[in-house]
Amino acid sequence: MATLGSAQLPAEASVGSRVSPAQVTKLAPRHSGLVRVTHWITALSFFALLLTGIEILISHPRFYWGETGTVLTKPLFQLPIPASRRSVPTGYGYVLPDQNGWSRALHFEAAWIAVLTGLLYVIFGLVTRHFRKDLVPSKADLSWRALLTSFAKPLRLERPSAAEASSYNGLQRLTYLIVIFVLFPLVIWSGLAMSLAFASAFPWSVTLLGGRQSARTIHFFVSLALVLFLFVHVAMVCLAGFWSRTGAMITGRVGPRKEHT
């Protein structure tokens, strides 16, 4: 019981008189204040980016590889959805309304907020050793056996134990590190590479990705990976106890969770 989180106290806490509120508040929070604030700003920005990204995408739901691509060239693939432009052959007999103006504005504004928030988070994580303490997996965490167990347990709809409320398992640690240090940087890079002005100052940002249209296609697939992460993330939160885990990300503390009977 060396790593006492407030989650291990539900039985005692429910008695009330034995653990005073002062004692409970002395325990380190599950998530630090900065992690909580940056988490929700990122969540909001991500939602805005996703919505507006889809909106921009439907004006040209065709993808290409390399530098160029138009309706006159063969696409790598085309999404089977209607488009918001008459010039795109979709097979649908109608054209969706053009929403690109505000979608682009909100997309870039949300991107600014997400990137600045992410920078703050990464600096904080390095300075306070948050990454090293909470996210870098130990050798034991990385054994195939441990990873497989972490993977199989939720598939059997097994809820995490109370001890797991205060720390991440190896699979979670790996996933978060990949999201923070691979997927987010890639989605930012491929997004910036699509900026004509940015590319004029940093041409390698486009050429390293294989061209402008490759950057757009990569941007799409990395976004898909982030959406997949979001689904699994929310599913795991629900499995562990939606209100207790969400509460922990809001107040910092893991409240006593209601057990299903």
Binding site: R62, E67, W102, M194, A199, S200
Partner: protein, 252 residues
């Protein structure tokens, strides 16, 4: 306890004051150095200002990527056009001999030029990508006279900050700052891939800005106005596109 909370209060107060005055100073400096776009108002103004301001600092003199001739797209895609006006059709029937580009505003010698006049000036061409905000793009060789040459020719007054350009198409106009107007790749474009600029691509005269999205590259240019403020033009947000909700600055 009381001391601690008082200290906290003072520190928080000082930090808030420093933050607010820091922001005010930053906003004033940004305004002074031309880092604030005309459409900086509204809920998206923060994003527009951050993008324009940072890209102006990073990319004032950078050149759009140019490509070898071998990478020119075999079929450049001309986006859809609105129906052409009667006046346009009349000029088209005359081979655009009667097309005039007028230049006025903060210039020493307001002028009116024909396409032949523009072609008599030193031409420049570049093989660059035209990228639409929708997502598609193609590479072509663009031929024209640098806007900077024409501006030099008429003599721009020192207080000039923007060039407004107007199309023959109804309600189609835009503007750029002097960084883009004087940029060596900004062309008054009359040719593509070794021949005349066809009408679907904006012939006889198109603004060609390879560092901004397609919609800033307006077709059928008839008028340039040099100005120190965009307030008197339309609703004052810099272009017909930004009045319709599209960002004035389209470097992204």
């Amino acid at each position: 306890m009381i001391n601690l909370s008082r200290r906290k209060l003072i520190v928080t107060g000082l930090a808030a004051t420093a933050g607010a005055s820091g922001l005010a100073v930053a906003a004033r400096l940004a305004q002074k150095y031309g880092l604030v776009p005309p459409d900086h108002g509204g809920i998206y103004g923060l994003g527009e200002s951050l993008t324009y301001g940072s890209q102006r600092l990073l990319t004032r003199h950078s050149l759009a990527r140019e490509f070898p001739r071998s990478r020119i797209s075999p079929r450049p895609f001309p986006n859809a056009l609105d129906p052409l006006t009667e006046e346009f059709k009349r000029l088209q029937a005359g081979g655009f001999a009667g097309w005039r580009l007028s230049i006025d505003g903060m210039v020493h010698q307001p002028a009116s030029m024909s396409i032949a006049d523009l072609k008599s000036y030193p031409s420049r061409s570049h093989i660059t990508e035209l990228a639409c905000e929708e997502g598609w793009s193609y590479i072509a060789e663009w031929i024209g006279v640098p806007l900077s040459y024409v501006l030099q020719h008429v003599g721009v007054r020192p207080q000039a900050r923007y060039v407004v350009y107007v199309s023959m198409e109804p309600n189609t106009w835009d503007s750029i700052d002097m960084a883009d107007a004087l940029h060596p790749q900004t062309l008054l474009c009359y040719g593509i891939n070794g021949s005349e600029l066809p009408v679907p691509h904006g012939g006889p005269l198109r603004m060609r800005l390879p560092r901004q999205c397609g919609y800033k590259n307006i077709k059928f240019i008839t008028r340039l106005t040099v100005t120190d403020s965009l307030k008197g033009f339309g609703k004052g947000v810099g272009s017909a596109a930004s009045e319709a909700g599209y960002a004035w600055y389209a470097g992204i």
